[in-house]
């Protein structure tokens, strides 16, 4: 025992010698490269100064530095800092802002966009950015082999966007149909260097370019940052692109910080401890159970907990009204998947409304969400400052009314088991599937089960492995009801939600890929979606969205559940910090964040 303790103490003493907080703030950076003719004055609260670094934690590292093929946030968190596009998106104002294009015009018919490029913009190797690079980037985006995810936005009704360059500083985009989101979508195509990537693109090796094992110096970027160091599984370090065209109000080139460090910390609890010990400067995705600790320790630990309101991701469940769309053995096209008596209940709006009114959402909030959630009735949550609509129809908790509605369907508890039966004697009930790894969803499922039992509906909660759930959802349709959530796209505009709201959409969960709308309400929604995706008038678009959301809620096709509130702790050492619920929450404006008092 004594021996063991001595060894332990000796180790402690030896190792404690190397302690001390990492502080690297003094910069001495001097911008020696002449500013471009067209600088971009970036919106920010206060003018900062050079130096320092910001350290953020990520649970996994980037899979690629190739912005075109990056699909998940661990990669796009990094690549979106490295590659600029024609336009940018301001997470706070939710407006498109200039980037490589300094200005643009949209024709009155909404089908032609003319973009004027910035003079003097350069890649991180000093090579000028011209219309050729934009054309190259769009041709990669539209390539059928590379098939980046942005491609689907550039194809409308099977027709591709046409992109041309009348001169080296003008880009003209023709869309086959009017597009309200022309500018936003054009701003989703990362601009990549033609002089480096054209040869690999032609030889078919584009996807292997700019991988995480590429030498950092050889990665040529168009955005404010470039890769300084990449250590797989440990960290990614970005440093400033010395040619970036963004400047502050005083004309100093951005970014201010010398380094942006993404530290890989796979475990969520370890992330939290690293923030508490000061090794991380902010958390992008903290656990809600830690909100209380952060709120109580703000002064003591010199950080601010930013309350950003409800997240853009929603929780809900729906009833399976799907029909067989493609011939499969044992099933005919048009056949329903659920048992006929269940289909009759699920297809009845009164039943769905009664279910909605039987759920006590308020009581879920303190126990499942630690108090940090709000009731939510739309995909455009209150976190979405532009599209949130507080006047929507909704059917909240009213168990007496729910019982009356169920009684009006002629259902009674005939055998005294506490559950209702329909006219044929079937016990009213359904199974509710969700993914077992999501504690919050399973928790809500348990509340729903108890609440519905009180009005006489028998719910069986079935938590499943995520992959099994997706197979059920997409291939076998073997479920009564399913509890899932949806993350809003970026930009968080209902026009991006065609897959969900159109009756032909694949994410129109309750009855997907309908050859033609099966209900008059869905036909109307399809028409309104056309208005939203083509009109350029915001009032018209908002009115259309209001009607869609109201129709969905009146029909109770979606049974809405509470949405979690997002709070992010960020160290007070930094200026211009403006976190937002829209991804990339903490670092979307990191090019203008600065260290307040460099030591």
């Amino acid at each position: 025992m004594r021996l063991a303790r001595t060894v332990h103490l000796a180790t402690l003493l030896l190792l404690a010698a190397g302690c001390g907080k990492n502080g690297k703030t003094a910069s001495g950076y001097r911008d020696t490269i002449p500013l471009p003719a067209d600088t971009m004055i970036t919106r920010m609260a206060s003018v900062g100064s050079y130096g320092g670094r910001f350290v953020i934690g990520e649970t996994t590292g980037p899979k690629t530095f190739n912005a075109m093929i990056a699909n998940e946030t661990s990669s796009t968190d990094v690549t979106n800092r490295m590659f600029a596009a024609l336009t940018n998106f301001d997470n706070i104002t939710q407006q498109d802002t200039p980037a490589i294009a300094k200005s643009w015009e949209i024709s009155p018919d909404g089908m032609t966009g003319t973009f004027h490029l910035r003079h003097g913009a350069r890649f991180s190797d000093g090579h000028p950015i011209s219309a050729d690079d934009i054309l190259f980037s769009f041709s990669v985006a539209l390539d059928s082999i590379v098939h980046p995810s942005v491609q689907d936005l550039l194809i409308q009704n099977g027709k591709k966007w046409q992109i041309s360059a009348p001169d080296s500083y003008t880009i003209v985009i023709h869309t086959p149909q009017p597009s309200a989101l022309l500018v936003s979508i054009a701003g989703s195509v990362p601009v990549m260097p033609k002089h480096v990537l054209e040869a690999p693109f032609k030889s078919g090796s584009f996807q292997a370019m700019y991988s995480v094992s590429t030498a950092p110096d050889s990665i040529v970027t168009s955005g404010p940052w470039r890769v300084k160091e990449q250590v797989a599984g440990e960290k990614t370090v970005l440093s400033r692109n010395p040619y970036w065209f963004g400047v502050d109000a005083a004309g100093h080139r951005l970014p201010y910080l010398d380094e942006l460090v993404y530290l890989i910390v796979p475990d969520q609890d370890a992330l939290d401890l690293k923030f508490r010990s000061g090794e991380l400067d902010g958390l992008d995705n903290p656990k809600p159970e830690n909100y209380r600790f952060y709120a109580d320790n703000q002064q003591k630990m010199n950080f601010t907990l930013h309350d950003l309101g409800p997240r853009m991701s929603t929780n809900f469940f729906w009833f399976n009204l799907n029909k067989v769309r493609k011939q499969v053995p044992g099933k005919k096209v048009g056949q329903i998947y659920v048992a006929p008596e269940k289909y009759a209940w699920f297809n009845n709006a009164t039943f769905r409304k009664a279910v909605s009114m039987a759920i006590d959402r308020q009581s879920m909030i303190p126990s499942i969400f630690f108090g940090d959630a709000v009731k939510n009735w739309s995909q455009m949550t209150a976190g979405n400052k532009v599209w949130f609509d507080s006047t929507l129809v909704h059917y909240d908790y009213d168990p007496d009314q729910a019982k009356k509605l169920l009684a009006s369907l002629g259902w009674k508890d005939k055998n005294g088991d506490g559950f209702l039966e329909d006219a044929q004697g079937h016990t009213i009930g359904f199974s509710l599937k969700t993914n077992s790894d999501n504690k919050i969803r399973v928790g809500m499922g348990n509340f729903i089960k108890d609440d519905l039992a009180k009005v006489g509906i028998k719910v069986t909660l079935v938590p499943l492995d995520f992959n099994t759930l997706i197979t059920t959802l997409r291939e076998t349709f073997d479920y009564d009801a399913m509890l899932l959530g949806l993350e809003s796209a970026t930009p968080p505009d209902p026009g991006m939600g065609g897959n969900v709201w159109r009756s032909s959409g694949r994410t129109h969960y309750w009855n997907e890929t309908q050859p033609k709308p099966e209900t008059p309400q869905e036909a109307r929604i399809d028409h309104l979606m056309d208005v939203i995706s083509s009109s350029n008038d915001m009032a018209t678009r908002k009115a259309a969205w209001h009607e869609i959301a109201n129709t969905v809620n009146e029909q109770c096709w979606i049974e809405w559940l509470p949405t979690i509130v997002l709070k992010l702790p960020v160290s007070n050492r930094f200026g211009n910090v403006e976190p937002s619920v829209i991804p990339h929450r903490l670092i979307w404006n990191i090019d203008r964040v600065y260290v307040k008092h460099p030591a």
């Binding site: 025992m1 021996l3 063991a4 180790t11 030896l14 190792l15 404690a16 010698a17 190397g18 302690c19 990492n22 690297k24 996994t60 899979k63 690629t64 699909n71 998940e72 059928s144 082999i145 098939h147 995810s149 942005v150 491609q151 689907d152 991988s211 995480v212 094992s213 250590v231 797989a232 599984g233 440990e234 960290k235 460090v261 530290l263 890989i264 910390v265 796979p266 475990d267 609890d269 370890a270 401890l273 690293k274 010990s277 090794e279 492995d465 995520f466 992959n467 099994t468 997706i470 197979t471 959802l473 997409r474 899932l484 949806l486 991006m496 939600g497 897959n499 969900v500 694949r506 994410t507």
Partner: protein
């Protein structure tokens, strides 16, 4: 001896073939595939999913996929590409392998460096409070789940600042001189090595204690003692050498477990090893990456067993092969 080694190495091939076929089959039996994680992403259309499925060859039946895999492995020594990283499997795995071995090596030093002296101590002081105390502490540590002890030590690190909160190196590692680098690595390695190394300590220590006690009861020890030899000489020169024999076999077997023994600690301590890599690959069904990781672990296990057998023969002249 040489033919024995050769025979053992030749046996590896059919074994690996069997392991790879079984792994591939199990991966196929698991519901869904790599593309499932994208199915609910509104930014990714069914057309894109189909195009990815074709590109990865996931539209083929599993025996066609496995046949292609075998062909590439056997004729081109090409173990496929990771779907998520667009990089050859062994390029991805190589990054984690060295780090995992580094941690596992440190953990082995902790285990064996403590197990042997403490085991001897406990045997020599059999049934004393030292013996009982050592067992108690070792078994308590054995019973505490790795995930709990790991998090507790991390909290200690965060509270006191004595140790870094996970990770393998400081952010400023590159700017340090060699002394600073050495200390930096030691500080980062200390806690995870402790967590991983102390788990098998109880069993190793008890084994060492038992072996030594067995030997101490043998006739030649009694003879040595009756000759009037110093107790130190009896224990360390005569008894200990013979008692170490089974420990050598055990040590060889632990070589095989080196790759997988520290997975949980790696995740808690943000250690960039194979643990997280393999787990992610498995969860996302990045199938060739899983295959590569499992084949590599199998090779390590088989070689570890072989080394154990050879070490035994080297240590004990009574054992010969052929």
């Amino acid at each position: 001896m040489r033919t024995y080694v050769l025979r053992r190495i030749l046996q590896i091939l059919p074994l690996l073939l069997g392991i790879s076929a079984l792994t591939f089959l199990l991966l196929q039996l698991a519901p869904g595939d790599f593309l499932n994680q994208f199915a609910e992403n509104p930014a990714i259309s069914p057309e894109m999913l189909d195009s990815m499925r074709r590109r990865f060859g996931l539209d083929q039946p599993w025996w066609v996929q496995y046949g292609m895999y075998l062909k590439n492995v056997l004729f081109h020594f090409d173990f496929g590409e990771s779907f998520s990283r667009h990089q050859p499997v062994f390029v991805v795995l190589r990054e984690g392998l060295a780090n995992t071995l580094m941690l596992a090596g440190a953990a082995a030093v902790v285990t064996w460096g403590l197990a042997i002296p403490l085991g001897v101590w406990a045997a020599v002081r059999q049934y004393s409070w030292i013996d009982k105390g050592l067992s108690l502490v070792a078994f308590v540590w054995l019973s505490v789940p790795e995930i709990l002890s790991g998090l507790l030590l991390l909290m200690l690190a965060a509270r006191t600042g004595w140790f870094p909160v996970g990770g393998m190196r400081s952010i400023d590692y590159e700017d340090l001189d060699w002394i600073g680098k050495t200390i930096d690595i030691l500080r980062h390695r200390a806690l995870p090595a402790f967590v991983v190394g102390l788990i098998p300590l109880a069993s190793r220590m008890r084994q060492m204690r038992g072996n030594l006690l067995d030997v101490l009861r043998l006739d030649y020890v009694t003879t040595a003692r009756s000759k009037g030899l110093d107790e130190h000489v009896v224990v360390f020169k005569h008894a200990l050498r013979n008692a170490l024999n089974p420990m050598i076999t055990l040590f060889g077997y632990t070589l095989g477990a080196l790759l997988s023994g520290s997975f949980i600690a790696e995740i808690i301590f943000s250690w960039p090893g194979l643990g997280r890599l393999t787990l992610d690959a498995l969860l996302t069904q990045d199938q060739y990456l899983v295959m590569g990781a499992i084949l590599m672990a199998s090779v390590m296990l088989i070689l570890g067993n072989l080394i154990a057998d050879l070490l035994l023969a080297a240590a004990d002249p009574r054992i010969t092969y052929d």
